[in-house]
């Protein structure tokens, strides 16, 4: 397996080369953050910027989020999910294929800082990482965790850890895709009573602050005016009313249906650690069942909600 320093080296030289060759005006990637276990997205325009690029298990949001707002030629250092979202944006005509250069990087999954903190409640003053292990240290102590134990939930069912097929170039040795989400928990939930289902889903969002960080971190949420910001009529009240909050989450997920690449950016951005993807998964399951569709895997896909088949089966319609 390529070591992280090696990988970083390759990413940095690729970025420098792309800038030098004029293939991109900016390379979007990640750099070390200012506190332990954080990374910051970086927009590289100079060689110095490129020298800060890293691959990290602590990456949080999906870098494709930045693409639809970016006017010029742009390269993105993309894990499987970043690349899938970028492809989705091209398919949805939010960005031009010619303006996009995907530097694919093999990914072994990201870690969930919340899970780390649950296992290690002492103040963590420093964290080191390699491909498989997270080493933590604090005031007079140190410990290490296998990355496998603290993987983000979405990373455990990733079907495209390496953006093969869509990347313009690939860095690192391709990692094997994992078995897709079997939605076993949702299937089990489906058998429960209405009250239990409702309690589960309303319970998920009861801490929601309605900050909409999930929306802003989402590479699919590029609408110029989001439905929550519409004022005439105003669809959602602004208070912490349970139903307003619940409606927001239902519609947010609905708007992502057939488009979500399970990058987990929404959950990573949520300051209240809400399991937002549960709503998305409900719809992903249905999209896969009905139309066998996984977004962002090729340039010529037709998103399922932009098309139809005369024989789509909907026996609930009388």
């Amino acid at each position: 397996m390529t070591s992280l320093p090696d990988l970083n080296q390759k990413i940095q030289s690729a970025a420098k080369r792309l800038l030098a060759e004029g293939k991109a005006e900016v390379v979007i990637g990640c750099r070390q953050g200012t506190t332990p276990m954080t990374v910051a997205p970086i927009f590289c325009r100079t060689e110095d910027d490129c020298n800060q690029l890293i691959w990290s298990n602590f990456a949080k949001i999906n870098l494709a989020t930045y693409l639809p707002k970016y006017p010029g030629k742009v390269a993105i250092i993309a894990k499987g999910c970043d690349a899938r979202s970028a492809v989705g944006q091209v398919v949805e005509k939010q960005i031009e294929r010619e303006n996009l250069y995907i530097v694919g990087v093999a990914c072994g999954g990201l870690v969930d800082v919340e899970q780390i903190q649950a296992r290690e409640p002492r103040p963590i003053r420093a964290a080191e990482e390699d491909w498989a292990t997270i080493k933590l240290s604090g005031d007079g102590w140190s410990s290490s965790l296998p990355k496998e134990d603290v993987l983000r939930r979405n990373c455990k069912t990733c079907v495209s850890r390496t953006p093969e097929g869509v990347a313009d170039e690939l860095i690192g040795e391709p990692t094997e895709a994992l078995p897709a989400d079997d939605y076993a928990d949702l299937k089990a939930l489906a058998g429960q009573s209405l009250e239990e289902k409702m309690a589960y889903f309303k319970g998920l969002v009861k801490n929601c602050l309605r900050c909409y960080a999930c929306r802003n971190a989402c590479p699919l949420c590029y609408c110029p005016v989001c439905f929550v910001d519409e004022t005439r009529p105003q669809w959602l009240g602004k208070s912490q009313d349970e139903m307003d909050t619940f409606t927001f989450h239902l519609l947010r997920a609905f708007h992502c249906s057939g488009r979500c690449t399970s990058c987990g950016g929404c959950e990573a951005a949520c300051p209240m650690d809400i399991k937002l993807r549960e709503f998305n998964r409900l719809l992903d399951e249905e999209v896969q069942k009905d139309w066998n569709y996984l977004p962002g895997l090729s340039w010529d896909q037709t998103p399922p909600l932009t098309t139809y088949r005369p024989d789509d089966e909907a026996d609930f319609i009388k």
């Binding site: 209405l194 409702m198 009240g237 307003d244 519609l251 709503f279 909600l305 098309t307 139809y308």
Partner: protein, 148 residues
């Protein structure tokens, strides 16, 4: 105690079900008066937020009806709508909406009898669900002292 009379919001396509309702009226076919109709140019125009908004504001049921597949005035509006309905229907029932609250149908403008039949069925099914509690916004607590 008098029987619960549900309030239902109905979204009808202008080119078919809306006409069917009209025809049912002209034909003196009686159907229950529990729904209020919102006329749409096409079921494809139906944004899912309208459905959630109706429930949120206290509708006990929502009924969406459009043209039979293949008969869309705009060629494929109802085909596209059908895909949205498939997802929405799945999602709402998965999060705990009673199966009898949300109804979809295809009724052409000639099918006054089908309209009558489905109208009755929708109202009865919603009635059986009882008042919408789980998907409506809580009553505003004005907290005002009773004023004379």
């Amino acid at each position: 105690m008098s029987e619960f009379e549900p309030k239902i919001v109905a979204f009808f396509c202008n080119w078919c079900t809306y006409g069917a309702a009209d025809l049912a009226g002209v034909s003196r076919l009686d159907y229950p008066p529990n729904f209020r109709v919102v006329r749409l140019p096409c079921t494809g125009r139906l944004n899912p937020k309208y459905i959630l908004e109706a429930f949120k504001r206290g509708a006990d049921g929502v009924w969406i009806s459009g043209c039979h597949p293949g008969d869309c005035h705009y060629i494929a509006g109802n085909y596209h709508a059908r895909r949205k309905f498939m997802l929405l229907h799945h999602m709402l029932e998965a999060v705990g909406l009673e199966p009898g609250r949300l109804h979809f149908s295809w009724i052409s403008s000639a099918e006054a009898n089908k309209f009558q039949e489905i109208a009755r069925e929708v109202v009865e099914k919603v009635r059986a669900c009882g008042p919408n509690v789980n998907f409506r916004k809580a009553e505003l607590d004005l907290g005002l002292p009773e004023v004379a």
